[in-house]
């Protein structure tokens, strides 16, 4: 893998000099140099492979309470981009009736490097390809597996952030993920089961996946034989991986303060102090979990990562802020202003969002249900309006307080706010497993994030076969 160049060190000096002299309320430049490796292996054949570099910058200027943003790929265009951003901010100010202010922060001067365990950058492309080729070969020796697609990605990104209020940060970040999707056709249906891993500091997260591949193969074989669930509303025990996706999609995005500002009704629904769920529910977001893909020691405005409580004992207590939204609410920035790349300005995003463990053992949840569904193994999902919809690949009926027959993949649909109010129990367990996916918002994706959760018992969800 190519290493990140030192061009950013030279630019750092230039940016510091120029930004300090710009006569506006606030100005920042963020320059990124990324080197990445990406490949896809389909049924043993390399379908795509890349080792590449990408560089570019984003200038943001605040003039008369309005933003202007300009991005560029040629460092020689830096100063013209500053002038362009100022001109765009002036134009925006002429047409806007809201004055943007920024919450005060302590300027940060630091050089940060993620604490690496096994560095993907130290490995040759050939060895990464060899590892996944071996996984692919092993997967296709398993019974009933017809196809296997492997995807791998790693990147080393150096970000230089210089702001007019005195922040000077250089962050060396790492991200990596890999996945295998095993699939088979059965009764006219294409069935797939993924195996995945990810990390912000350790290629080791992708080693020794054979046991997971074997389990996925057995699961896929099982899916070919099981009946479909009968469409109905059921009580559902949601496994930790699916609960992680649920909290990200069906709560986390509503906690992003920019979403609330732009929607007065949502703001009303998300008033601090409102009781959203039973006392067993606690939710927080954090940038402090070293090694997870949601590790964010400083956000893209230079605000340090921290833990932000969002729900405590069922009540709303916090929001995810940028400096702009924190000022709007009269609250403190939380370190959640993130941009997926230099092509975008930072917006409010999650890092690692968590449901804290509760006090009900998983076995007790099952015992409470006379007819219901157990669901885990997320395979995509999204929120639209008040509805969410998620696919769970691992599904079993619950009958008379016991796990009963396996059923095919299910689609879980529900109303967001009704579902949070309907959480009857939170498990004593907890799992935070990094995926090969990412978060999308406002055209910015996939952004590296993590999520963790215990088992949840939900009183009622619409369950349909996928």
């Amino acid at each position: 893998m190519a290493s990140v160049s030192n061009q950013s060190d030279d630019l750092y000096t230039l940016f510091s000099t120029v930004v300090a002299q710009v006569p506006v309320e606030y100005c920042e430049v963020r320059w990124e140099e990324t080197s990445y490796t990406r490949f896809i292996i389909r049924d043993g054949d390399v379908e795509q492979v890349e080792e590449n570099e990408l560089g570019g910058g984003c200038v943001r200027a605040l003039v008369q309470g309005a933003w202007g943003v300009a991005t560029f790929t040629n460092p020689a265009h830096f100063e013209t981009s500053i002038n362009l951003a100022i001109k765009l901010a002036q134009l925006s100010a002429q047409h806007s009736n809201r004055v943007i202010r920024l919450a005060e922060t302590i300027p940060q001067q630091a050089r940060v490097t993620f604490p690496i365990q096994e560095d993907p950058c130290s490995l040759l492309l050939a060895s990464k390809l060899a590892l996944f080729t071996e996984y692919d070969r092993y997967a296709r020796t398993l019974p009933n597996i017809e196809h296997c697609v492997c995807r791998y990605f790693d990147e080393a990104k150096r970000t230089v952030l210089v702001t007019s209020n005195g922040t000077h940060l250089i962050q060396n970040q790492t991200d990596l993920y890999g996945s295998l999707t095993l699939s088979a056709f059965s009764q006219g249906k294409n069935l797939s089961v993924p195996v995945y891993g990810g990390s912000s500091n350790d290629f080791g997260a992708l080693r020794n996946l054979q046991a997971g591949i074997k389990l996925a193969g057995e699961h896929l074989t099982q899916l070919q034989k099981v009946p479909s669930v009968q469409t109905n509303t059921y009580p559902v025990v949601i496994g930790p991986e699916l609960a992680s996706l649920l909290v990200h999609e069906a709560f986390g995005h509503f906690s992003e303060a920019d979403n609330q500002i732009n929607n007065p009704q949502l703001l009303q629904l998300m008033q601090k102090g409102r009781s959203l769920a039973n006392r067993c529910l606690n939710i927080f977001d954090s940038g402090l979990e070293v090694g997870t893909r949601g590790f964010v020691p400083f956000d893209d405005e230079g605000v340090p990562g921290q833990r932000t409580d969002l729900i405590r004992e069922g009540k709303l207590v916090g929001r995810l802020h940028s400096r702009e939204t924190a000022a709007w609410f009269g609250e403190q920035p939380t370190g959640n202003a993130r941009a997926v790349s230099f092509r975008f300005p930072p917006i409010c995003r999650m890092r690692t969002i968590n449901i804290g463990p509760g006090d009900t053992p998983y076995e007790d949840m099952i015992r409470r249900i006379s007819l219901g569904v157990y669901a885990d193994g997320p395979y995509g999902g999204k929120v639209d309006g008040e509805n969410f919809s998620f696919v769970a690949l691992k599904a079993r009926m619950i009958r008379h307080g016991q796990l009963a027959e396996h059923v095919g993949p299910v689609n879980l649909t529900g109303s967001i706010f009704r579902t949070w109010a309907n959480i009857e129990a939170v498990g004593t367990d907890y799992l935070c497993k990094d995926t090969a996916g990412g978060c999308g918002k406002g055209g910015q994706g996939p952004l590296r994030v993590s999520a963790g959760a215990p088992h949840l018992l939900v009183k009622e969800l619409l369950v349909t076969p996928r």
């Binding site: 202007g68 943003v69 560029f72 790929t73 009704q265 949502l266 639209d384 509805n387 349909t464």
Partner: protein, 432 residues
Amino acid sequence: MYILDRLKQLAQGAELYSRDEERGKVHIEGSHIQSIQVDRSYGRALRVFKNGKIGFGHTSQVDTESDARLIERALSVASHGQVANFELPGKPGSSAGQCVDQTTEHLEIENVVHFAKRVLEQLRSSNRTLGWSTIASYEQGTVSLVNSAGFEAQYDFTNFHLVLSGLYTQEDDIVHYYRKWSGKWPMRELISTLSGRVNQELNEISYISKMEHGAYQVVFSPLATKALLHTVVKPITGKNANLLSKRIDKHILDPKITLVEDPTCDEFCQPIPFDDEGVVTRPKYLFKEGVFVEGIHSLATASSVECWPTGNGLRPEYSKTPRPKAVNLFLSPGSQSVNEIVANVKNGVYIVLLGNTVNSNFRAGQLVGTVGLGYRIMNGERVGRIKNAALNLNGLAALKNQIIAISSEREWVDSSFLPSIALDGIYIGSMS
């Protein structure tokens, strides 16, 4: 040409793609300008063919040192790369093309701000139930492509995009409504008829109608039809077409379905003269009266399923490799008006938009999604909005056996021109 000249000694073939562009974007939330942004980028991507394999690299820098690194990277990756199962196209029929809308070409960001504000004011004045936002953006630039087989051409391009979003919220009842167009600077008719169309789709949004799980007659609006068509376009795109490639010239869909894909159309969309691999674009029947005619391919996928490339090898940006993608879709209209179709539905649903189809397995024709905005139809009348409903269907089967009618009216959705479709026996699960 320096790069290709260097590579003559080092590889058996090469292709250099470059894209120089400016994008301007205005984002307005309510009456507040969220941001105005201008992006300027230049980048080149290199594919080299060496010892039967492909290497790929890209750079945004313009100097000899960067060129040398680009060549080195692409050659280095080639030893591990994808098997080169195709040949690059040679000289094109014409060396240049014009894909420029004169208005968009001379657009300044100020024009976009005024336009976006006007659209929002119009929507707000006609419908105050929803909170409105918009993103209006333009692209202006030049694409050029040169390869070792003798292809050398470039074209200037423009594009305009408009996304409208409306958020309806009553306590914890939330509906996200959106419309999206891509192509030339919006036609005057689009704006003048916008309010009427939007109001028609949002008319009964505040009345909730109950429904049970079951099979219904379902009318898909042009917007929902776009999602439905994914279930027949994805299975004939790229390597996915492997299974259906043996069924060319066979009836796969109902004879009412004639679907054309046309990257050259310049009525509303922006045409392109050749794809991002140098294959000349052309209009093509995907399905003619239900018969599968041809799929959507890049050079590599066409070779893998043993057919001709179709001029659909496209790159979303210079730093990506070409992938097969369908662009402007045209579905032939039927004979009944939408009003007539709805009037004939005894017990059904009208789906304005499908909310969440990310769980769909489009490659297998499977569509799973929530009903983002839909209305209950009883005895030919829309009687109220349905909530918390989800549907699950196989589009290949539904568009073969379950079509009741296709509307005579069509609408632009993104850059496609589509009618409404009514299907019978669509299973919908509901919590309301």
